[in-house]
Symmetry: C2
């Protein structure tokens, strides 16, 4: 619960828990709009260039390594999404503004959570996360959709069951 | 030198050293044929399906996590290559026979090294690696190409400079 998890997708799915000693704090912004998962999938092309695929493969490996190596610069460097974000961000109201606010307030990473419409920011400190959250709040309160903001710290043990 | 290295491919290339406590032994078989890198690239399609790309992304992440987590089962599970091997193995003489020998002798992983024509097996013990090497030797000595076999242990510190 609450940490990083990698799902290895072959015939079966295998959840791999990713441990880290990085101190990471998340902010999630969820606007009350509905994007059907099926609709969300159709905006993604079914074929991608090998070049893009290779960039994304190395990012996945680098992101995973960054967690274990506790290397926040590498984590931020490898968090870029070359595949989904370009296509899916148009479905998320105010995506670019939210991203700019996250970056301006010092977030390491900003991205789409799952198939949307939630977006998340990952920050190095609770203070930064609170600043990001406040900036999201100020923006979204002026906009047309109801929204919820969530924040908390990332579990260093990765995904695990609560006993 | 001699350990795992992940190359993160964006505008620049970034080499990320992958540490592990797994005790891994390699065998490399190099047959004396020439495959031009350019020719080797042309057999790979320039577009791949998103489904295949996702499988390979998760494998890359899983492989990286397996090294840090010292999980040899996960390492073997995630070592499957869904993209390059299918297209490139036809350029490597006796590929399927070598793979069968590696698996039969207990190798965790068998694959193509870089763009070929070298192939490698990774094993859990030196004893297994020696058995794999011997089986390669017995096979290749009957075949048409000159060949070299190499073996050794994988550096646990990942790729690093020798002082």
């Amino acid at each position: 619960l609450g940490g990083f998890c990698l799902v290895v997708t072959q015939e079966d799915h295998l959840a791999v828990s990713l441990e880290t000693n990085l101190d990471l704090h998340y902010v999630v912004a969820h606007q009350q709009i509905e994007i059907k998962t099926s609709a969300s999938r159709t905006v993604i092309p079914q074929e991608i260039s090998l070049e893009t695929a290779i960039k994304q493969w190395s990012n996945l490996g680098g992101f995973t390594a960054a967690l274990f190596k506790n290397d926040k610069d590498l984590l931020a460097f490898c968090a870029q999404d070359f595949v989904v974000e370009t296509h899916r961000k148009s479905q998320i109201p105010h995506f670019d503004e939210l991203k700019e606010l996250a970056v301006a307030n010092g977030a390491l990473i900003f991205g789409i959570s799952g198939s949307g419409p939630s977006v998340f920011a990952l920050c190095e400190s609770n203070q930064t996360a609170m600043a990001v959250k406040e900036s999201f709040d100020k923006l979204l309160t002026k906009k047309e959709h109801d929204y919820h903001l969530y924040s908390g710290s990332v579990d260093k043990k990765g995904v695990h069951e609560l006993l």
